[in-house]
Amino acid sequence: MSDTAKEPVLKAQHLSIVFGSLRAVDDFSLEIGESELVGLIGPNGAGKTTVFNMLTGVYQPTEGAYFLCGKKMNGKKAHQVVAAGVARTFQNIRLFKKMTVIENVKVAMNMHMSYSILASIFRTPKYWKEEAEMDAKAMELLKIVHLADKADYVAENLPYGQQRRLEIARALATGMKVLLLDEPAAGMNPTETAELLDIINVIREKFKISVLLIEHDMSLVMKICERIQVIDYGITIACGTPEEIANNPRVIEAYLGKDEEEVLC
């Protein structure tokens, strides 16, 4: 973490993954520096979520390697990748539906808790101390995503936009260095999207984390991303600042070309 000047927080080198005869992602390289926000865009089925799945240990890349703070992460299981510092949200919300909002957050804190089974059975002081600490921490995170007053609601009863925010709070609770957001604004109305934008800015400032964002809402992507990488059919077709991407003829052709008005707005 200290040698941030040179070492990117997350680095992917020539990642490829093959399913049968399909090359879903080919030669994907990416570097994210500390506190940087990078956008990953591309048409439907381009392989964006597959990239996420490779970076979080759900899939193992067929070729290539990826590094977190210089440490090679290939071959690690999903939960080990999270422990190392990469957390994500899901395109189709995956909350623990029958559990309360605060429980959802506390589940993600489990790896930072250390009391034993015996401590839980005998309700030792350590149990009470850790539970109280985690309660306080979870409430703090819920405040950031404006859900503090909903802490005891059952997660599935929350409206859609709040469920998305709860997923972000749960990812934050893992204490990660890199946050991967998979279409966080999908299905949100403009007000909710604006609120989400605020939240993303607040957490970047507060936790000094790097963010990789998949998003179809172009106005959001253009507004907050420092760099954008575009993939199509698993191949990176462009990289650059939002302005460069918006004017890149290959990008317009592959992705935005059909509806140029959407690019400009």
Binding site: T56, V58, K77, A78, H79, V82, A83, A87, R88, F90, R94, L95, F96, K97, K98, M99, E103, N104, K106, V107, A108, N110, M111, M113, Y115, I117, S120, I121, F122, R123, P125, Y127, W128, K129, E130, E131, A132, R170, A171, A173, T174
Partner: protein, 339 residues
């Protein structure tokens, strides 16, 4: 940090509730109200005690982890045989009955726990129906193996096990077992296991080692099934491997589902009721499985989550209501293990 005061008070209230319940039972049996039927009723209650432990341990799997096991009788039999062999070897060696009983329970629990660990590690890569099939297969393998080992009687009745289980001891063993399971569920462990039940992909993405917690829960569940089996062995004093057949596993599962998946209150009342029912209506005992299936179908139609769902009885809540005068004909039964 100290225990919050209200929690301490609620634990104490529950403890008092359990002791009162126990004293009521003692009074019932000592007063001789039941006359010549005292021992018969005591026997039914003892049966209820070990059935509660078995059903609660299965509920840990079905209700909390969300996986079906149709082989719980297999783990129970491992515990029953291990403890029976142990006490047969040690009987009359100068150990007091209570010490022998406690040791037998521990041996039974540990043996079944090891079996659960060994089965769990490979089997828990599977989910849902496939896991259920593996557990059936395990229970059948155990049963057939016990039919062929000389040490387990080789298919004949293993008899002459010292009768150690009595109602008073079994009552406290039941209370302790269910309390331990309850405390486990209401901690970071239970929270994690529930998260795996809800969505194992999201659980892994929250840094949870899904396999570890599944195997852990499976092992703990098997451990308590083994304790239940040990109580059973020392109550029956004789058993054959066919006692632990598929029907018995299915019966336990029925009791979990009727009582309420995820509710220990449901397990306690479901097990107590359903295990004493066949005794109370002995003349209809042949129709028991028929009655079970009808009840199961009715429950599934009208209350898919079981009679109690995931609701837990709380003595403290009842007392609060009684104080505020809101209590309307609430029955104060089985106030065993609630915060």
């Amino acid at each position: 940090m100290k225990m919050p005061k209200e929690k301490l008070i609620s634990y104490l209230i529950n403890l008092v509730g359990i002791v009162v319940l126990f004293l009521l039972f003692v009074a019932l049996f000592q007063s001789g109200v039941l006359g010549s039927r005292t021992n018969y009723v005591k026997g039914i209650f003892t049966t209820a005690c070990y059935t509660i432990v078995l059903v609660a341990s299965l509920n840990l799997l079905v209700g909390i982890l969300g996986e079906f096991s149709l082989g719980h009788a297999g783990f129970m039999s491992v515990g029953a045989y291990a403890s029976a062999i142990f006490t047969n070897a040690l009987a009359g060696k100068g150990l007091s009955d209570l010490a022998l009983f406690v040791l037998a329970l521990i041996i039974g629990g540990v043996a079944a726990g090891i079996a659960g660990l060994l089965v769990g590690i490979p089997a828990l890569r599977l989910r849902g129906d496939y896991l259920a099939i593996v557990t059936v297969a395990f229970a059948e393998i155990i049963r057939v193996a016990f039919c062929n080992f000389a040490i387990t009687g080789g298919g004949r009745t293993i008899s002459g096990i010292t009768k150690l289980s009595n109602f008073y001891w079994c009552f406290w063993v039941m209370v302790i077992c269910v309390t331990i399971m309850y405390m486990f569920v209401r901690s970071r462990f239970g929270r994690t296991v529930k998260a795996i039940r809800e969505d194992y992909i999201a659980a892994a993405a929250s840094g949870i080692n899904v396999t570890f917690y599944k195997v852990l829960t499976f092992t703990i569940s098997a451990f308590f099934a083994g304790i239940g089996g040990a109580m059973y062995a020392h109550y029956m004093t004789a058993m054959i491997p066919t006692n632990f057949n598929f029907n018995y596993s299915a019966e336990l599962l029925t009791e979990v589902i009727i009582g309420g998946t995820g509710s220990f209150t449901g397990s306690i009342i479901g097990a107590a009721f359903l295990s004493s029912l066949p005794e109370l209506m002995r003349q209809f005992s042949n129709y028991r499985m028929l009655a079970y299936s009808i009840v199961l179908v009715i429950v599934m139609i009208f209350r898919p989550g079981g009679i109690f769902g995931s609701w837990e009885f709380s003595l403290v809540r009842v007392l609060k209501k009684a104080k505020n005068g809101e209590l309307f004909a609430k029955k104060n039964k089985g106030g065993a293990e609630n915060e």
